[in-house]
């Protein structure tokens, strides 16, 4: 499901951050095309 796919990683500061999602997606063989960490304070 991830291998060879283009991943849009939408993280949240109070949850899992975009960088962490992107690192896992890359390690699973995906290309990360957008990585964001949103913050609602």
């Amino acid at each position: 499901m991830l291998k060879g796919k283009k991943v849009i990683a939408l993280g949240e500061r109070d949850g899992i951050q975009g960088g962490a999602i992107a690192a896992c997606a890359r390690a699973a063989g995906a290309e990360v095309v957008l990585e964001k960490t949103y913050c609602f304070v």
Partner: protein, 94 residues
């Protein structure tokens, strides 16, 4: 940007901490922003969306990577309710 990519090649992964936030994000990238507050109001991108803690995603991530990057925060989330919310949107029941 999403409109320039082939939908079949794209996966959206969420790291949202709550059921409500997960449903909102998932709807925003599928049927359009339900709050009608942002640029994606009324824009149905129809992208496949998963929460990163869902079993289908977790199964493809090496346990060592999951433990290093995701496990700690996942312990603080209701991953079952979050997964149910995102799956509901993905299957058109959002």
């Amino acid at each position: 940007m999403a409109e320039k990519l082939d939908r079949e090649d794209v996966v959206v992964l969420l790291g949202t901490p709550t059921e409500d936030a997960s449903r909102l994000y998932a709807m925003t990238v599928t049927t359009g922003d339900p709050s009608w507050a942002g640029a994606l109001a009324g824009v149905a991108l129809d992208l496949p969306v998963y929460h990163v803690t869902e079993e289908a995603v977790k199964a493809e991530i090496a346990p060592s990577d999951y433990d290093e990057h995701l496990a700690l925060m996942a312990m603080a989330m209701d991953v079952d309710a979050i997964g149910e919310a995102v799956r509901g949107v993905r299957e058109g029941k959002g």
